[in-house]
């Protein structure tokens, strides 16, 4: 009796697939043990193992005597990401419903830092080009600097990058590593004296009417200037309108919890389709991880330098660390900045300013995503 089928699978494991098992286990370890973006890294880690099993049934397989057998993860990827980018876009409804723009609306000057802290995206695009990536791939890699997982996935998918998997892993990994990456970057470009600057907190009034009008105005404005952003910004603002309108509490709760959780769960395991060993285990993945780090570091540096530039013209100085909070990783970045401020001076409270900048970063990152798509499309 021929029982070779019992060990055929084991013997056909390639070293690249073995590497992916290790990557999967590391992601699961980081998710569980270190609490690094567990909602995404755990499904991605487990998915990395699933899709790399020899002749895995979760991806389409050609079977002798039967023909093509469809796999669930490949189907989810084709339908939910490749065909429509539905999963990352729908997630924005949930994210929008979670965001309170109040701290930003009460301190509109904090808007600027959201823009400044997108610098890392464009700097990273240049670095990626210098390392030999073509423009579409370089732009997809650069968008890791948006510090916004769904935007990174969406942009890389729209631009048909073959690096969706490594980009998603880099984006979520570095978002989880913000408490390590940002203090390093901020200390590079600030002095102790600057980090000790106190800021008065005198927020303006924010009416309910203003909170309702804001998502509508943002959608119009961004849609007219950067039509490619509409899917991103529109769904983000739709979620926020559900939250702020005051008459759709159930829908807002569903968007924030059920919808966001369901899509997050599916998004992680779906993205793992792009973590197949043949597409993932190569030098390019290491380069992408390196460029992603550069993007995060230069986001922080860009925001800090903008604050320092503005200080040249202001009597009441801004704590330049506020600029670094203008990335999309909310509320982690604001907390990091507040913690650093208190390390220098335990009486220094700049949390609300940092939150304002951080919320601005959430808007600016999707605007940046749309602009990158528009600009790259114009050059292709």
């Amino acid at each position: 009796m021929d029982l070779s089928f019992l060990w055929e699978g084991l013997l056909s494991i390639t070293w690249q697939q073995a590497v992916m098992y290790v990557v999967g286990i590391v992601l699961i370890y980081l998710a569980i043990k270190k609490d690094y973006e567990p909602a995404l890294l755990l499904p991605m880690g487990f998915g990395a193992i699933l899709v790399n099993l020899p002749l895995s049934g979760v991806i389409n397989q050609q079977m002798e005597g039967i023909g093509v057998v469809n796999g669930i993860i490949e189907w989810l990827y084709n339908v939910g990401i490749e065909a429509s980018e539905a999963l990352p876009i729908l997630l924005f409804i949930g994210i929008g419903a979670m965001i309170d723009f109040g701290p930003l609306l009460s301190m509109p000057s904090m808007f600027l830092f959201g823009a400044g802290a997108q610098f890392g995206i464009f700097f990273a695009i240049c670095v990626a080009v210098l390392l030999g990536f073509d423009i579409a791939d370089a732009a997809s890699i650069g968008i890791i600097g948006a510090a916004d997982g769904p935007t990174s996935i969406l942009v890389s998918q729209v631009l048909h990058s073959k690096y969706v998997g490594p980009i998603a892993v880099a984006a979520y990994s570095y978002m989880a590593l913000v408490p390590i990456v940002q203090p390093f970057a901020i200390r590079l470009v600030t002095t102790k004296k600057e980090r000790r600057i106190h800021m008065d907190y005198t927020p303006g009034a924010v009416s309910q009417r203003m909170k309702i009008a804001f998502p509508i105005i943002v959608t119009f404005l961004v849609g007219l200037i950067s039509p490619q952003s509409v899917a991103l910004v529109g769904f983000l603002m739709f979620g926020n309108l559900l939250r702020e309108c005051g008459v759709l509490g159930n829908l807002s709760d569903t968007a924030q919890n059920t919808l966001a959780n369901l899509i997050t769960l599916l998004l992680g395991i779906t993205i793992s389709f792009s973590m197949r060993a043949d597409a993932f285990v190569n030098v390019d993945t290491l380069l992408i991880m390196f460029i992603g780090l550069i993007a995060f570091v230069f986001d922080s540096i860009g925001g800090v330098l903008l604050a320092k530039f503005l200080n040249l013209f202001r009597k009441k100085k801004i704590n330049p660390m506020i600029g670094a909070a203008g990335i999309s990783a909310f509320p982690m970045s604001a907390r990091v900045v507040q913690k650093m401020a208190m390390e220098e001076d335990p009486t220094n409270v700049i949390l609300m300013h940092a939150i304002g900048a951080n919320v601005s970063g959430q808007i600016a990152s999707v605007i940046a995503g749309g602009l990158v798509i528009s600009l790259v499309a114009a050059y292709l």
């Binding site: 609306l105 808007f111 240049c126 309910q208 804001f214 404005l221 990158v372 790259v376």
Partner: protein, 47 residues
């Protein structure tokens, strides 16, 4: 590569200018809304 780098630098310039223009307009609109909504809030509070 040089051609791609020039394109990347152009994307950087246009992208950063684009973001700052959008954000600056948003800032101005929100400041304006704050001025307009200020009295409206008082009305809301009175009612």
């Amino acid at each position: 590569m040089m051609e791609n780098l020039i394109i990347a630098l152009q994307i950087m310039l246009k992208g950063m200018v684009g973001i700052f223009v959008v954000i600056a307009i948003l800032t101005l609109i929100v400041m304006l809304m704050g001025k307009i909504a200020g009295p409206a809030k008082k009305e809301d509070e009175q009612s």
